[in-house]
Amino acid sequence: MLPAALRDAVLAGLVASALALPMLGFRLVDSATGLTLAGRFDLVAWAAGIVFCGRLVIRLLPPLPGLPALPAGTKNLRLGAGWILAVIALVLPFLPFADRNLVDKATLVLIYVMLGWGLNIVVGLAGLLDLGFVAFYAVGAYSYALLSQTFGLSFWICLPLAGMLSAGFGLALGFPVLRLRGDYLAIVTLGFGEIIRVILQNWQDVTGGPMGISGIERPSLFGLSFKAVAPEGHQTFADFFGLDYSADHRVIFLYFLILALALATNLFTLRIRRLPVGRAWEALREDEIACRSLGINPTAVKLSAFALGAMFAGFAGSFFATRQGFISPESFTFIESAVILAIVVLGGMGSQIGIVLAAVLLVGLPEWFRELQQYRMLAFGGAMVLIMLWKPSGLLSHREPTIRLGDPR
């Protein structure tokens, strides 16, 4: 036991020093005589030592206990947690410590929660690995931007249109590729995500190319504008309610808008999981052959999951466009797809609350620790490693049945 652990720890220490040598060991010093290289080998020794000790401790300690098992009656507990989270989200902007910065960050997290919930339909429930989810997000964002700028339509008309367009793209992509499975499907969706981005980048006449689209119309609340001065024939929000104009109003309004959109996504998913079509998604993930022999049409079931997931991404995309006021292909790179997928997987494939936690962890925390600058990614990596050790199947991976005897079907 001990010799093996020691050997393992020495090995880990060696790997750490090899990694630390170029990254920590040398430093460029800008002195009067020009750039010189200074050694910082004490840091390398520290890094190797820490990794050595850490590895030894991990090997010698018993395996990390799982998260304390949720007691029986998990369903109520989790339902309670859901309600508590929802209430916190509702009152967040009015809490004494909530400033514009916090609400802004919460809005960002909620965008990813919504994207995670959308992708959860595809990956978590239907089990179709989609690496190009950001494409539908992009379609939604550009749909809104272009419809609003070309035809002068309002956000509220464009939102469903953008969702429909995204769902249409989901169907168009899904139809040919859903014959593929697993890794092959993942590669094709990855390619699709890139194709959309490249088109956005190069179709200068329509999308503005790398310059993107700017000056995108902001949403209004039943015609009440959030600008300082209302456009012709409209009233501002502040005037209508007799408040002093403040830019915070719009930030808070956007926050509630995405909260409503995200909650709608969640409610939809929770409802549809209890319906035959939603359950068919889960059945399909478990066993496609069994589904066929039960008279389920796998193509139709997969397409519906793909299109619905894409639709929610489209809604989120529209919101993103209207919040930023500016979109460019750079916002829709592969790394976005990867983050959304990481949220779903980390949350525990199929768990709605798990996705919220994962989104806070993956999007919220890095935003929060922006002050830590270069240590941000270190903390991020460390958190990922911890989760792999601790909860390899995701934060909340336990699945509750969605039907019980006596339930109305």
Binding site: A283, A290, G295, R409
Partner: protein, 237 residues
């Protein structure tokens, strides 16, 4: 009820069925026995439209279903209980049963559920348990129960005895007989366990290398010395 005429089928360039002719009459239990790789499972799968027949016809109540997609075939009153049970392991027993009713009108659900649970009281005790935590025999019961949820006229069973203890096999076969006797479901059964299958069945077919080699009543086939030599002696009990 179910009629197969000169059916040919296979996977890619490999032909597995070389012209099968057989018939299952209403209310019958028909068993198809044969060695490993004879094409028994392929025949069942081809009847369900996956893989597609390359030649020949499948008729269900006189209607040609050869070219229909699988989910349409199932909706016409055929239920297929696939080889290896293939229940949904992460879903509860009740959810599994509900998936079986996916192709039928939801209005019957409660009634069908009751009927299946009466047949399998064991499942009733385990409704909220996950499918994957059931024992092998219970999983087989669940697979059969799930197939029955679609109110089939014909039930296709693929190796219901696979991997089960002898006592459990006997129990499963008793239930199959009861489904046929009490609920009037026509049953077409594919089995390696020739003794049990032929004893249960009204009629049987023997399949060798993708062809029907012999047919007759269950009792006749059981008495046939050639069959005894090939499929029974030293084999199943």
């Amino acid at each position: 009820m179910l009629k197969v005429e000169a059916l040919q089928s296979g996977y890619g360039s490999i032909q597995a069925l070389h012209g099968i002719d057989m018939e299952v009459a209403r209310g019958e239990i028909v068993a198809l026995v044969g060695a490993n790789g004879a094409g028994k499972t392929t025949l069942l799968m081809t009847i369900c439209g996956n893989p597609r027949a390359s030649a020949g016809r499948v008729l269900l109540e006189g209607e040609d279903i050869t070219r229909l997609p699988t989910h349409h075939i199932i909706r016409r009153g055929l239920a297929h209980c696939p080889e290896g049970r293939r229940i949904f392991p992460r879903m509860s027993v009740l959810e599994n049963l509900q998936m079986g009713a996916a192709a039928t009108a939801p209005a019957h659900f409660g009634q069908d559920l009751e009927r299946v649970l009466d047949l399998f009281p064991r499942l009733k005790e385990r409704l909220t348990q996950r499918g994957g935590t059931l024992s092998g025999g219970e999983q087989q019961m669940l697979a059969i129960g799930r197939a029955l949820m679609s109110r089939p006229k014909v039930l296709l069973l693929d190796e219901p005895s696979l991997g089960l203890a002898p006592l459990v096999v006997r129990h499963i076969f008793e239930i199959i007989a009861a489904i046929n006797r009490d609920q009037g479901v026509t049953i077409f059964l594919v089995e390696q366990n020739a003794y049990h299958a032929l004893k249960l069945a009204h009629r049987g077919y023997v399949m060798v290398n993708g062809k029907i080699a012999l047919g007759g009543t269950g009792a006749d086939l059981l008495a046939n010395p050639e069959i005894r030599a090939h499929y029974l002696d030293g084999g199943a009990s």
